[in-house]
Symmetry: C2
Subunit: 398 residues, 2 copies
């Protein structure tokens, strides 16, 4: 009696993963250094050395039963307190340890946040373009994903379409800024307007609407820009964070939900997350990783390569005539394809060993995503291929 | 719009946790060394030193981007291959890497196993006494938990009641041997009979019935006994394992599901687990923990203290006139209380600073659980308290 729902999902391979596997296979033929693989959002810089040093120190000197012992289901108390303190200092918030719930990365964080403030049948709004896993994150809770069309001029929020999509069934809005795949950062103006609209709708509908804020790229910002901290603008906010990108620890699966101290039921939400965990088999992140990360909360890996790569790629694409919104953070860029069908565009690019991802999976057809968390040398070496590609396929004059 | 289902769960605190918290509070008054805390099943011995050495070596010498990089969603291929090889050697199986799915401990393993072979409305049978979290593990998938009464003579299986509970809606049976809380190990005879019954019912009902085998205590065995490996006896078996107990790494949340190569759809189940993960926010266990554990799969912590403690406690309880089935493994014992109401019994024990857990939560009222993963010295020091307790409260002659 194999579960048919999951069995049917077996065909649905992620386009990103397919392209990444193609790049690996192609690499076996021509050398991976010659495949310009912009498919995967996998941090390319080493983790902060302080993390490694701390973990080695703990393994050498801490009592193993304590170091590797069960974490309480909401996270290790000292770690929760340290996260609260770091957030308070950085974002002028007033979190207590009780507002922090440690999770297995941002995916674990969003799984709890969604289940806590929606019930099956409720609607959850997302803004295109968005990370394609949101379909599963939301859909498998029983809630219904509602999509607001992209504002392709700036990749801020398309407020006209937002107002059209809003209705009394909406109980949560899932946002992602800095944004995968566009690299855009919601401006203070955007966030204020979003908050104003939601507050008005809460009043109109007579119930809470939570913002679930997916923030793993919070520390990767360009041109000296600041990323508005959502909880400062809207009380009913659950901030979902992962250290995957800031500390380059994607495999260690460590993150948290920070419950705004001013949201509805702020005093019980983290405890509710603990109950949710029991039903979905979520466990705290690994104890020794929790303890080590708590010592380096305000550190990051050397993230400068991402801005360097962005500048090179942005200038190159503009010089080739692409329409492209300049990324303000992350390690993605999301240009308009040179033909309407971005899938066809990306397939043609493959002939030049340029591996880029069509925007369709991000619910924004006609665009394509490049992840530039790769060596700068490879970025530069890709430019000849770009020249050949756009000249041959689209007659662009070089 | 806080989710009311989870909000209502807030009152339902685990009795074990309540008792453990009481023990901690009491410890603040009289010194924790004077509280005979048998409440929590938390390993008391340090992890295998080889684990620590391996992880330090990796942190010092492996390339950080590889060590801490994303694990594929089914687990790191080399780790899956190593687990398969170890199981094949130890249990004469023929697993391939493709049959192994790495999980966040046994809870993560069971969450995937259940969802893969049941659908909402299906029935899942468990045998009393059982770990109380099974209510949430099963109930939150939408399946219905059906309980077979305990065989209190031996804590094997009550086959009469099993036959009475079986019906065409049953698609899975969740077993736990060596057993928490009884410490019993299902004999080869029990396992063979269980397999025979299930095979007959599969035929009768015309559909698969899977055994989900929860095996975290597989390596903690006493008196030289062997624990039959369930997949050897029944093809439709999903083995759920955790390294929490064998390696004393409960906080590191590392385990796996091993899909029997002879079960229905054995070639696709692990891939299905990967799809299930997307919906419940499960992530692979931490990469560096996966890699380190793969190097010490056949090691264990020094587990001898558990058998030593069992012998002392068993002999003491028998000498005091308790009816008790001798544990064959785990670090639990499950004696009959000296009055019908085990909750009252455990409350009276608290007066003597003996913290033991009533069997009600394990669906076996009238019994109580002692976890003896504590120092042997404390076990011995508790005996005076036991003497006083049973003499004063129940008139037992010492």
């Amino acid at each position: 009696m194999i579960n048919e729902t999951y069995k049917k999902m077996l065909g649905g391979k992620s386009v990103i993963r397919e392209l990444s596997e193609y790049a690996t296979e192609r690499g076996k033929q021509i050398g991976y250094e010659n495949v310009f693989d912009f498919s995967l959002g996998n941090p390319s810089v080493p983790c902060a050395p302080e993390f490694t040093e701390t973990l080695i120190d703990f393994l050498q000197n801490k009592e193993p039963v304590a170091l590797h012992g069960y974490s309480p289901s909401l996270g290790i108390p000292s770690v929760r307190a340290a996260v609260a303190e770091s957030l308070n200092k950085r974002f002028d918030m007033d979190y207590k340890a009780d507002h922090i719930f440690m999770t297995s990365g941002a995916a674990g964080a969003i799984a709890h946040a969604l289940r806590s403030v929606t019930k099956p049948g409720d609607e959850v709004i997302v803004f295109a373009p968005f990370f394609s896993e949101y379909y599963e994150y939301v859909g498998k809770t029983g809630a219904v994903l509602k999509i607001v069309k992209a504002d392709t001029n700036s990749f801020q929020i398309n407020f006209d379409d937002f107002e059209a999509v809003l209705n009394p069934n909406v109980t949560a809005v899932l946002i992602n800024t800095p944004n995968n795949p566009s690299g855009s950062v919601y401006s203070e103006e955007t966030v204020k307007k979003l908050a104003d609209v939601l507050r008005a709708k809460e009043k109109e509908y007579g119930h809470d609407i939570f913002i679930i804020s997916d923030e793993p790229y919070r520390e990767i910002l360009f041109d000296g820009i600041k990323c508005p901290y959502i909880s400062k603008f809207y009380d009913n906010t659950l901030s979902c964070y992962s250290f995957s990108k800031s500390l380059s620890l994607p495999g260690e699966r460590i993150g948290y939900v920070a419950v705004s101290p001013r949201c509805t039921d702020s005093d019980i939400l983290a405890v509710m997350f603990g109950q949710i965990s029991r039903g979905i088999g979520h466990n705290c992140p690994a104890s020794c990783i929790q303890l080590a990360v708590a010592e380096v909360l305000d550190k990051t890996s050397d993230l400068s390569v991402y801005e360097k790569n962005m500048n090179l790629i942005y200038d190159k694409l503009v010089s080739l005539g692409f329409e492209v919104v300049r990324p303000q953070g992350t390690f993605y860029i999301f240009p308009k394809a040179l033909e309407e069908d971005a899938v066809a565009f990306c397939n043609k690019a493959k002939k030049y060993d340029l591996i880029v991802v069509p925007g369709n999976g991000f619910c924004c057809p006609g665009y394509f995503r490049m992840a530039y968390c790769i060596d700068t040398d490879k970025v530069i070496r890709s430019f000849d291929a770009w020249d050949k590609f756009v000249k041959t396929e689209y007659g662009v004059k070089i």
